[in-house]
């Protein structure tokens, strides 16, 4: 065996394996760095005032109450709009139209919508709702978020229903159940945890979405419960406050960023735990 060739192959392998180690380590390092910075800068600002006071005018202390309220409301609207349509569409693809042309096309289009730039969805809702209604509103923000929930739910519902063994459906049919009972009582029940995972992931996705809210819900410095008017929301407040020159605002931005990240991570970890538990059982 030629020792020179052998050594060179070993050296090349060694270098590349070290690089792979380095790549993985730097990925973890960046995650740790981001979370560490968030905790360091955000934790200092967490106080009761954050949850009990509204966003302050420049140069004074305050909280994020109106922004948190707005974010929760619009997330609720988005989830309430996107989830049922998404589950129905996913049901069609997995139950009625399995493998037919419509399903293939919808799956392809849905996958594109899944990764389409969210700012384009914002432009669409602006043209559809804000222009026709004549003003920015929390409804428009909620609809924009709903359009982002939809593809996530469609995808997971279809995937999870396809995992349900056909023998279960056949058993139910053999007992004389009509199709809709088979779907509602058997397929949905078996795929429930997976479908819930999808909804949680969708909520996690819209929790931090900023771009589609910029010109749909806009922002509001005051507490507003009017869904027909501009409404404050955490992401846009963070955007505005972080880019401002005021130290108080920047501090609140970090606190808001920490809140959003913790929420998103909890949702993600929860969804993950749910899906591993069901895949094991």
């Amino acid at each position: 065996m030629n020792a020179a060739i052998y050594n060179r192959r070993r050296a090349v392998n060694g270098v590349i394996m070290v690089l792979a180690w380095f790549a993985a380590a730097s990925g973890i390092f960046v995650l740790a760095l981001i979370l560490g910075t968030l905790l360091y800068k955000g934790l200092g600002g967490v106080s009761w005032a954050v949850f009990s006071q509204n966003t302050p005018p420049p140069g004074s202390a305050g909280g994020l109450l109106n922004a948190i309220y707005g974010s929760v409301m619009m997330t609720l609207i988005g989830t309430a709009l996107g989830t049922p349509i998404g589950i129905l569409a996913g049901t069609y693809m997995a139950e009625y139209g399995r493998g037919n042309k419509l399903t293939m096309v919808v799956r392809f289009i849905n996958d594109i919508l899944l990764s389409a730039p969210s700012i384009v969805i914002g432009l669409f809702v602006y043209e559809m709702l804000v222009v026709t209604m004549g003003h920015f509103s929390a409804w428009a923000g909620g609809v924009a978020l709903g359009l982002l929930v939809l593809p996530v739910v469609v995808r997971t519902t279809e995937d999870m229903l396809l995992l349900v063994p056909d023998s279960m459906r056949e058993a139910s049919s053999a007992l004389g159940s009509p199709r809709w009972v088979v779907i509602m009582q058997v397929a949905y029940r078996a795929a429930r945890a997976g479908m819930l995972t999808g909804v949680l992931l969708a909520i996690a996705r819209i929790t931090g979405e900023t771009a589609p809210l910029l010109f749909t819900a806009l922002n509001n410095q005051f507490m507003s419960t009017n869904m027909n008017a501009p409404m404050a929301n955490l992401p846009v407040v963070i955007f505005q406050f972080a880019l401002s020159p005021y130290a108080d605002w920047q501090k609140l931005a970090w606190t808001g960023a920490l809140l959003i990240t913790v929420t998103v991570l909890i949702l993600n970890v929860g969804a993950r735990a749910l899906s591993t538990r069901t895949s094991k059982s």
Binding site: A23, A89, A211
Partner: protein, 331 residues
């Protein structure tokens, strides 16, 4: 008696009446049509997005024609708009993101599938996937307050100094070190695409039959030779699909870029200089845009962005689909 048994009992006792059959028929038709309508809604949604963008961008294309794509001027006062600078910024930031993101992602995927001890595999995969879950605005605020000052103080002066005497490179990396700019945006994007490319790559790496890898190892191949000569050729379509997926994300990414790009409507020779991208431009100026032509010029950029990402994402999906069909037929 549990409820299932009760139901079974009552079904057994009850006679199947025509009215009951009819009722079930109605419910069946209802659910079938409702689900079908929902599926078609997804298609209509995409159609609606395209239509509304086209309609919104008509005034801009009428006013500037094809020149809209090739003009650098962006002047809201005289209402002269061209999209060249944002298009350039979008492409260059994504290119930098890919330049850094692809090798690192492949490295992480190789690490997870070939090198990592088994007990570490799940935690590392989870951590990388959590990176994907972090909202882009968090990357933005982190990029602005942590990454930019660091690059400005330590990395950019070094780069500028190193390439100062070299032709071409010296103008590509010309100073001063702003901290924010095209280069910083590219780095943030490379961090953001990492989890997407890694998770797809890892998944397709795991589809390689163990027998193939074992026979290569058995012939005396090193780990790198197994990866480069067996795993990568076998999974080429999937890896390219994953990369395209990441590229689609990078092209359309808005908030993280908006924070660190500097929002300058010019094409500078140096990639360290501030610039703008399509999405950052829309995010920054849309609510302040006065007049139809200004708004329409921004919507037109949205249409261009959607067009580019649509092509990239469609190509990615087709490649992944092809791989899925191949592995499906083999199982």
């Amino acid at each position: 008696m549990n409820s299932t048994a009760q139901v079974a009992n009552s079904i057994a006792q009850s006679e199947i009446s025509p009215s009951m059959l009819r009722r079930h028929g109605i419910w069946d038709a209802l659910l079938r049509n409702a689900t079908r309508t929902a599926a078609i809604t997804v298609l209509l949604l995409l159609g609606g997005v395209i239509l509304s963008l086209v309609q919104g961008s008509i005034p801009a294309f009428k006013a500037f024609g094809f020149g809209f794509l090739t003009t650098e001027t962006w002047n809201p006062v005289t209402e002269k708009f061209g999209a060249l600078a944002p298009i350039y910024g979008t492409l260059v930031t994504s290119f930098i993101a890919m330049l850094i993101g692809i090798p690192v992602s492949l490295g992480v995927a190789i690490f997870i599938t070939e090198l990592c001890p088994l007990w570490l595999r799940r935690p590392i995969s989870t951590a990388i996937e959590l990176l994907a879950g972090i909202p882009s605005i968090i990357y933005g605020i982190w990029g602005l307050f942590v990454l930019s000052p660091f690059l400005q103080a330590h990395v950019q002066p070094l780069i500028i100094g190193t390439f100062a005497g070299v032709p071409v490179l010296s103008s590509l990396f010309a100073g001063p070190p702003y901290g924010i700019g095209i280069f910083t945006a590219g780095i943030i994007l490379s961090i953001m695409v990492l989890p997407y490319i890694t998770s797809v790559t890892r998944d397709v790496f795991e589809t390689v039959p163990a027998v193939l890898k074992e026979s290569a190892y058995g012939l005396g191949c090193t780990t790198w030779e197994v990866v480069s000569k067996v795993v990568l050729p076998y999974t080429r379509a999937g890896v390219i699909g994953g990369i395209m997926l990441g590229l689609g994300r990078a092209l359309g990414e808005t908030m993280a870029v908006t924070f660190v790009i500097g929002n300058a409507h010019k094409i500078a020779a140096s990639i360290l200089a501030p610039g703008t991208t399509i999405s950052a431009n829309i995010a920054n100026e849309f609510t302040e845009a006065e007049g139809d032509l200004y708004t329409s010029s921004l919507v037109a950029q949205g249409l261009i962005l959607f067009g580019i990402t649509f092509i990239v994402l469609a190509a990615a999906r087709l490649m992944l689909l092809r791989l899925e069909m191949r592995s499906g037929s083999k199982v």
